[in-house]
């Protein structure tokens, strides 16, 4: 039982930056930002190369450098896709698909299709006090730092601006506020967080694979919808939503595994559950915002 709880915690912490990033782009900015899948992989590659290239540095400093590298790697993907949207005037769905394609090629150019991290030290095991879960403490530390910073960010002007963008993208031009700045910084932040999550996931699994980002957008949307169904807070935005949604997703997954459920049908069961939550949510809250096309 305890082991299951630890596993849920670990998966939650590994995916939390990705979920919060998806929350910023899908739920706050309300854009279909598929480039987070690419940012996930680019962040993993950037972090892994930083790890391999700077193995002589003390681990406590190395982890900061690696997190920084994966943050920058993810942010780069966000920069490309958001620039295409704002300056090229393309729909963001198209921009994110183009960015995905571009970085797929770039990833293949700079990295092999599969890279094992088994021969390098694992910075996530710096505080390995919990037996059989040596990465948990470091993951919790990273998670708390990121959530703390984001909690602060969402109380500032830029945090509010992200939520306003999703509520009314036309808002800013009436008051001399740069819409481009808000959008580009928001998408970059979302993708940067996905990059951090990508590195942590790759390190925990001990390999980087170029296709490891596939399907993450769907996972994010599912978790955010679950979170929206569970969390009933009246504020326009809250960090509790992605946290609760992620926790619910992995708890559901592990419970199904625990009871011996045939995992072949896991995706179908998940889809049914999400449908039920959507029906219930939309039934009890009939007035959705006008531009709430994504439902998250």
């Amino acid at each position: 039982m305890f082991n299951m709880i630890f596993v849920i915690l670990e998966q939650l912490l590994l995916h939390l930056p990705l979920m919060v990033g998806a929350y910023v782009s899908f739920a706050l900015l309300k854009v279909p930002d598929l480039s987070i899948e690419s940012a996930y992989v680019v962040g993993a590659i950037a972090g892994s190369y930083a790890l391999v290239g700077m193995s002589n540095i003390p681990m406590a400093v190395l982890i900061l450098i690696i997190i920084g590298a994966s943050f920058i790697g993810g942010a780069l993907v966000g920069l490309v896709s958001s620039l295409l949207t704002q300056k090229g005037k393309f729909p963001h769905l198209l921009s994110s698909i183009v960015a995905f394609g571009l970085f797929h090629g770039i990833n293949q150019f700079i990295s092999p299709a599969y890279m094992s991290l088994g021969t390098t030290q694992n910075p996530l095991t710096l505080f390995d006090a919990i037996p059989q879960h040596p990465e948990l403490i470091m993951l919790a530390l990273i998670g708390c730092c990121i959530m703390g910073m984001l909690y602060f960010l969402f109380k500032t002007q830029i945090g509010y601006a992200y939520a306003v963008y999703g509520n009314n993208p036309q808002f800013f031009k009436n008051y001399g506020i740069s819409t481009s700045f808000v959008f580009i910084s928001g998408v970059m932040l979302a993708n940067a967080l996905a990059g951090i999550s990508g590195y942590m996931f790759a390190q925990s699994n001990n390999f980087v694979e170029l296709n490891m980002g596939l399907g993450k957008a769907l996972l994010c949307i599912t978790a955010l919808i679950l979170g929206k169904g569970i969390v009933r807070i009246k504020k326009p935005f809250t960090l509790a939503l992605p946290m609760v949604g992620t926790a619910a997703y992995f708890t559901l997954q592990q419970l199904l595994l625990k009871v011996g459920f045939n995992l072949k049908y896991f995706t179908a069961v998940q889809a049914l559950l999400v449908l039920c939550i959507l029906l219930y949510t939309y039934h009890t809250q009939p007035q959705r915002p006008v531009n709430d096309n994504l439902g998250v």
Binding site: N3, Y114, G118, N205, N206, F207, E209, N211, M212, L257
Partner: protein, 326 residues
Amino acid sequence: MKKMIILSLAGILGALILYFTLPYMRKPESPVGQLRIAIFTPTTHPALEEIEQGFTYTLQQLNTKSYAFTTFNANGNKTLLRAQAEELVSGNYDLIFTIGAGCSQTVAELLHKKGITTPHVFCAVDSREFAQSLQDSNKSTTGVYVKVDYKPEMDMLHKLKPDTKNIVLVYDPLHGTGLEKYKKEIEEYIKKYGITLHAVEVYQANEIQQKIAALIPTMDVVLVLTDNTVVSGIDAIIVLCNRYGVTLLASDLPSGKKGAALAYGITEYESGSSAAHIADTILVQGKNPHEIPIRAITNFRVEINRDTMKLQNVQLDEAVLKEYNQ
């Protein structure tokens, strides 16, 4: 300004396309005496690289012919696999060598459809029926297959770890020709040892950790079949098995080198080498591929990884090793 940016991007894109496709646009012809061989592999993996090495090295050793090998790698992408198959089938090669069920089936089908008679040798197919169906589907196809039988592997496991009660099988049901039949075979077979099989289906390598992390501590052995999806994520399973002291039994030898305490499989090099002998018969002796019956690879080995065996709770037993590695 915007027009200049668009024109510049279009120019760069055009230059890149030309750079990468110009070499392929001329229909290549072999220099006099040199034989052009296309090698088609589904993804990057040490096991597949060993097969390729076994094939190319053996072929070059068998005679004094000069060979030019071109490798096509689908990188795990099924759309790319189809596109590359189209490319190499029309590429005027002297022989096509394919690794794995997906590549082999696609190439055989295309050769048949287009009426192209390029000789085709396949390898790393795990079912006799499937291998025979490949040969039947196209007149210029033949190859080697692995006579997969997990029963000796389970017997070996029982000899090494007789107190095993629970095995978790991690597999991709959609791999190759479908692994369900092997799962059922193993499940039935190990009942006689009082072992229960727990199956965990994964469809992508990045799902492995989430799906098995909670289950592993209650298991005695983790079993992995010859399954590209799971094998490509074997590092994640090795980490968990080392952490929880659970034995990892892999059905391919390269995974043993990576860190699986127990590995039972064929030498991939030998698989490629066997295919090279067939290729030599076709290219040098001029035999029709259809007249060469498909061959089975049957010499399996057991390897114990001495670095991880203690972590994964495996005792070295020379008698068992000797029995299986004759």
